[in-house]
């Protein structure tokens, strides 16, 4: 059964059986707050950490500062106060939109980040082919973004980040724009990748089901200025199967998170 802790800085507890995880967190937020130049108070005093092998999801409604959290984590925006500790070169960022370059086909889009980092052509070609296969886009290498569906674009975007083999994966509501069925399939893929790569994941979403299905921990965020009001551990083992979504325990945990969310936004 899910266990709720209110201690945001609580000691890291591995939920799943992962003995090879290292004791130092991959990503640390320490008293981070964000006030935009226009006076918008997006984030207030937020502290948490994500360890290798942990998949942490932040749920909250639109406009509560979730995306700000990731922008700060990646270094795109500096925080107003507090600090973030993360190895920037090992961060992979999956954007809200697929942000594929329209003039590149799938293969060359997936190679982009490696290319920008100066990886030799042969190596990045090989790696791109591998991640394309991993996300199930084999056979679509020569297609251009306008020839792809929304879900396939997100797969390509995922593959592009995978090429760099990141240790910290930041997901900014990546499947918000695709339909429910595609979203569930993409969730299965992310779970599969997580099972294989064991990165540290920080995932932003407004879907409770997605949060519970993917993560080892769920953080509930309040309305703006955002702060973390509740934390849930998700006890299910990996690899997780699609039918987990119909498990009573799953429903129970989702209900508790939903309750907290409503409390936070009443």
């Amino acid at each position: 059964m899910a266990e709720q802790t209110q201690d945001q800085n609580g000691a890291p507890t591995m939920v799943t059986a992962m003995d090879d995880s290292e004791p130092t967190p991959a990503l640390v937020f320490n008293g981070v707050s964000m006030v935009y130049p226009d006076g918008t108070h997006a984030l207030s005093e937020t502290s948490f950490s994500v360890h290798p092998g942990e998949f942490v999801t932040v749920v909250g409604p639109s406009g509560c500062g979730k995306s700000t959290l990731l922008k700060i984590a990646s270094g795109l925006n500096p925080p107003t106060t507090g600090f973030v500790s993360v190895e920037r070169s090992k961060v992979g960022y999956v954007f809200q939109d697929a942000t594929l370059l329209q003039w590149r086909n799938v293969q060359h889009n997936v190679e982009l980040l490696a290319e920008l980092q100066g990886m030799p052509k042969a190596e990045r070609h090989h790696r791109a082919a591998e991640s394309i296969k991993l996300v199930g886009l084999s056979g679509f290498e020569k297609k251009y973004p306008k020839q792809l569906s929304g879900g396939m674009k997100m797969r390509a975007s995922l593959a592009r980040t995978l090429v760099l083999d990141p240790e910290v994966f930041l997901f900014d509501e990546p499947f918000g724009a695709v339909d429910e069925i595609t979203r569930e399939r993409l969730n299965d893929e992310v779970i599969g990748l997580f099972g294989r790569e064991r990165f540290a994941g920080l995932f932003i979403t407004h879907s409770i089901g997605e949060a519970v299905f993917l993560s080892t921990r769920v953080l509930v965020m309040s309305a703006r200025p955002g702060r973390i009001v509740a934390e849930f551990k998700v006890p299910f083992e990996y690899p997780r199967r699609p039918e987990l979504r119909f498990d009573p325990e799953f429903a129970n945990l989702s209900g508790q998170i939903s309750y907290e969310l409503r409390g936070a936004h009443a």
């Binding site: 990646s74 270094g75 795109l76 961060v91 960022y93 954007f95 809200q96 939109d97 942000t99 370059l101 329209q102 003039w103 590149r104 982009l112 980040l113 920008l116 980092q117 296969k133 991993l134 996300v135 199930g136 886009l137 084999s138 056979g139 297609k143 251009y144 973004p145 306008k146 020839q147 792809l148 569906s149 929304g150 879900g151 396939m152 695709v178 339909d179 069925i181 595609t182 399939r185 299965d188 893929e189 779970i191 599969g192 990748l193 199967r241 699609p242 039918e243 498990d247």
Partner: protein, 295 residues
């Protein structure tokens, strides 16, 4: 829970990919099929046009405008006198050569200077503020008013004629390139920012490719204007050697040789259409495979 009841997708397997494409199908690719009406349509218009022209020559000129028919010779006469006879053909094609020469050089210079200005303007807001108003001023000044001044100061050589072409065609190139360079998606910029790339890399791999459709639209507009500029220039540079088509037409006008005049007009129109088609084709080759509208 038995897995048999819930078929699920194992990431990375081909089964998963195939299933997904069924559920989440990509948009259909439009087929390039040969359609007869792409030829018949223009052909019908052309025949109607010729018929009206012939009718105007025989009856319409007198009936509608009370003018003699020889002011608008029959298309047959035009083709015969302007194109099938050696001397006028040579003269008209010579004019075409110089007009095309001036337009192409002018267009080329506009592209080089206009795009350079656009890159500088895209780099910094202050540079845009320093340059753009003057481009607008240049665009707003009627070329017809400036050309006589240029003619009076520099005479009618090729240089001043090319200069007029640049004047008239630089604005659409500079403004479209600038617009294109600034049009890249915010998320795509973030992507490049996270990779900590140099400004030059960002320009080369993000801004220029995404600007291509706008740049080519600018080229197409500018190419048409360059031809206009070349012909307009010639109206004021009559005394110059290396006569362009505008000068040749003017000579025929003075000699009241109407078939040759209309022949000259057809040639100018042909040059304009050719330029348009070339750039339409170039646009299709360069951005047609990824850009939504390749027209």
């Amino acid at each position: 829970m038995s897995t048999a009841e819930f078929p699920f997708i194992v990431p990375g397997t081909d089964a998963g990919a195939v299933e997904d494409t069924v559920l989440d199908a990509p948009p259909p690719t439009p087929q390039d099929k040969f359609e007869w009406n792409t030829i018949i349509g223009p052909l019908v218009t052309f025949v109607i046009f010729l018929a009206i022209w012939e009718w105007m020559h025989r009856t319409g000129m007198r009936m509608l405008f009370d003018k003699p028919g020889f002011l608008l010779p029959s298309p047959v006469t035009v083709v015969d006198q302007a194109f099938l006879r050696h001397k006028p053909r040579r003269k008209l094609l010579g004019g075409l050569y110089w007009t095309a020469f001036v337009s192409v050089i002018g267009l080329f210079l506009s592209i080089v200077v206009g795009m350079t200005l656009a890159v500088i303007m895209a780099r910094a807001k202050w540079a845009e503020r320093a340059v753009y108003p003057y481009l607008v001023a240049l665009q707003a000044t009627p070329v017809l008013a400036v050309v006589p001044v240029i003619a009076a100061v520099f005479g009618g050589g090729l240089g001043p004629r090319i200069f007029v072409c640049v004047m008239i065609s630089i604005f659409p190139i500079a403004s479209n390139t600038l617009f294109g360079l600034l049009s890249a998606d915010k998320g795509q910029h973030d992507l490049f920012t996270l990779s900590e790339v140099s400004r030059f890399t960002r320009l080369r791999k993000l801004q220029f490719p995404s600007a291509m459709p706008a740049i080519f639209t600018g080229f197409r507009i500018a190419a048409g204007l360059a031809v206009v500029g070349a012909v307009v220039g010639e109206q004021f540079f009559r005394q110059g050697s290396k006569p362009g088509i505008g000068i040749v037409i003017e000579e025929y006008r003075q000699k009241i040789k109407f078939p040759e005049i209309y022949g000259g007009l057809i040639i100018i129109a042909g040059l304009g259409v050719t330029v348009f088609l070339i750039f339409g084709w170039l646009t299709k080759v360069v951005v047609g495979h990824w850009h939504e509208s390749n027209r």
